[in-house]
């Protein structure tokens, strides 16, 4: 992009939120259909966005279509507001839509996310937009699109249980910890995107509208507010979320999703909230974890640890330890080498990419 306001050069003017009105109308129609048929994947004519697919172009297009001038936007990536990806997308909408942005889940009216649902309970006045790499939950066992469409149409979801069966056969328990399949409104089985299964219960009966956008695969799906969302399981292996042995080292929160942060090369580490906004808010309110002093208020945002899962073959990301992060060349991963700006590598994840932000 060459929109830098340098010197006397006039700034390039974009249509509101970058996409032209006709495209936004088309996307809104897909969104309305998705809301009308909860969990159903609606095809849409995804547009090229001025960023690589790995940056969540599906989510960006959905956000662009639902955003109004009075909205307040929050963008999170793995729970943090300050990763390259989050900063870039936030900057993109600041520039193209001139909307107010925030890091506060409370203040936001639209939240675009990758890999997490905020710990702060959402409200009826909010829309949560997910970036989705692979929308088809049946894909890993049934690569034929014609066949998966049939299976959805006829609600033949035995295959989904074959996947869970295999997990138990191999690991002794359901080892799928990310992108854990759910049944929406008693009908369609849906991939909630690579959020930790820890977040699955938040999908259920959520007051906010939840929209899912897959750019490369050109699919939009939705969970309307207050919809029943059930995680698939077996009678003798019921769905369970991950548990953490200790509270957040910074804010002492329990019952939240924690990330492991490596402190030094001598095995020093701590567990902190993956949701940095939530963690900061608690610290500001005076909550103190056992390492709050040492680490200071800087709240070391957890590094995306060696990325795992989501292989190119479309296999679900399995993270047997329950602590890993999804990885691989799916949408929403670092370093997808496409134009116009390269996304950088995981090591430079905090650096703003050239050409993306002001």
């Amino acid at each position: 992009m060459n929109a830098h306001a340098t010197g006397a050069m006039p700034e390039i003017t974009y249509n509101f939120a970058y996409l032209d009105e006709q495209t936004k109308r088309m996307i809104r129609r897909a969104i309305l259909k998705a809301i009308a048929v909860p969990g159903y994947q609606v095809p849409f004519a995804a547009r090229e966005m001025p960023m690589p697919y790995g940056w969540g172009t599906g989510g960006v297009q959905v956000t662009a279509a639902v955003l109004g001038p009075d909205d307040v936007l929050k963008v999170i990536d793995q729970g943090a507001d300050d990763t390259t990806n989050a900063v870039a997308i936030r900057g993109f909408f600041e520039k193209t839509a001139r909307v107010a942005t925030t890091t506060s889940a409370r203040e936001a009216t639209v939240i675009q996310t990758r890999h997490r649902i905020p710990e702060t309970p959402l409200t009826e006045n909010q829309i949560l937009v997910y970036q989705v790499p692979i929308p088809e939950p049946l894909r890993f066992l049934e690569p034929r699109e014609t066949e998966t469409r049939q299976l959805h149409a006829l609600a033949e979801y035995g295959l989904m249980h074959v996947k869970l069966y295999e997990d138990i056969a191999r690991h002794g328990h359901i080892a799928t910890t990310y992108a854990y399949p759910v049944e929406v409104a008693g009908r369609y089985v849906m991939d909630p995107s690579p959020i930790p299964k820890f977040d699955n219960p938040k999908l259920d009966d959520c007051p906010a509208l939840q929209l899912f956008g897959a750019g490369r695969e050109k699919r939009i799906y939705a969970i309307p507010p207050f919809t029943r969302v059930r995680s698939l399981d077996f009678e003798d292996h019921p769905f369970r979320v991950q548990r953490f042995a200790q509270p957040c080292a910074l804010c002492a929160a329990t019952g939240v999703y924690l990330d492991e942060v490596i402190l030094d090369d001598k095995g020093g580490r701590m567990f902190v909230c993956s949701d940095t906004d939530y963690c900061n808010e608690r610290q500001e309110a005076g909550h103190r974890g056992e390492m709050a002093g040492e680490a200071g208020r800087a709240s070391p945002s957890p590094q995306p640890s060696p990325l795992r899962g989501e292989g190119a073959d479309g296999a679900l990301n399995l993270s047997p330890t329950g602590k890993g992060r999804p990885e691989g060349p799916g949408e929403g991963t670092w370093g997808v080498p496409t134009t116009p700006s390269s996304a950088g590598d995981p090591g430079s994840a905090r650096a703003a990419p050239s050409g993306m932000t002001k």
Binding site: L141, L154, V162, Y165, E166, A169, F234, D236, H237
Partner: protein, 258 residues
């Protein structure tokens, strides 16, 4: 026979463009009966099997099937959901190439359990127990239940296909050259197993083979195909011992390499 036919084909034809796959075939299959379809390569055996199982769309003719409630249904009139339910519960399919009939990256237990899960089984322990039971019936040791078929021999893969299909107690199984590509001794063992299961479960089977010995061993009746048509049909032993058609005589006398 007093019993009513399980499957009735009338005037089935299939054209592949200008080429004839199968021409005006009518036949009936009775419950518990094994029907062999024989003929040389290219005679239309697989095409006929595809038409009977409705995996191929016929250019003309129809196939009717007696549902469990006794109703004889024109398969073309069944809805997609009803037909698929039929195919994964009341029918079985054993393919020549195991990769076409198995999920090669899924464990043996998962392969056998798939149909159970498809019809609503949701208890892991019960599914696994049933899978192990069926593996035993096809002579696969219980300790292989978590291995995937890539680690299995050709004969084991075919036996796994059979278990995977029979677990829902189908009434009709379609087999296309199930012993093709196997060593002779492995073939013999598989044929024995099929024969025993067919008798035990009262299965009807439509089996395509170019091997008359397979037809002799397994089938009650057979149809002989040539150039897409059925040219002779009858009790297996009669057809093989006393073929009427000159072409069948050539086949039986092994003058023709089928």
């Amino acid at each position: 026979m007093i019993e009513q036919p399980l499957l009735i084909a009338e005037g089935l034809s299939k054209n592949y463009g200008a080429r004839i796959g199968c021409r005006d075939v009518s036949l009936e299959v009775y419950p518990g009966e094994v029907l062999a379809v024989v003929g040389e390569s290219g005679s239309g055996k697989s095409t006929l099997l595809g038409l009977l199982s409705t995996e191929l769309e016929a250019s003309a003719g129809r196939v009717s099937y007696r549902l469990r409630d006794g109703r004889l249904a024109d398969l073309a009139s069944l809805g997609a959901a009803e037909k698929r339910l039929l195919m994964r519960t009341d029918w079985g399919f054993v393919r020549q190439n195991p990769a076409d009939g198995l999920r090669m990256a899924v464990s043996a237990g998962g392969n056998v359990g798939e149909r159970l899960m498809a019809v609503g089984w949701r208890h892991y322990g019960h599914i696994r127990d049933e899978a192990i039971d069926w593996l035993g019936r096809v002579e696969i040791a219980a300790d292989r239940v978590d291995d995937d078929p890539r680690a299995f021999s050709g004969g084991m893969r075919q036996r796994l296909q059979i278990a995977r299909n029979l677990v829902t107690r189908p009434r009709l199984v379609f087999m296309d050259e199930p012993t093709g590509g196997l060593d002779v001794s492995v073939q013999a063992r598989l044929l024995d197993l099929i024969r025993q299961l067919v008798a035990e479960l009262g299965l009807a089977v439509i089996i395509v083979t170019h091997d008359l010995a397979v037809a002799r061993l397994l089938s009650h009746r057979m149809v002989v195909m040539r150039h897409g048509r059925v040219i002779e049909t009858g009790i297996t032993d009669q057809v093989l011992d006393d073929p009427r058609e000159p072409y069948t005589q050539l086949l039986v006398s092994s003058v023709l390499a089928a």
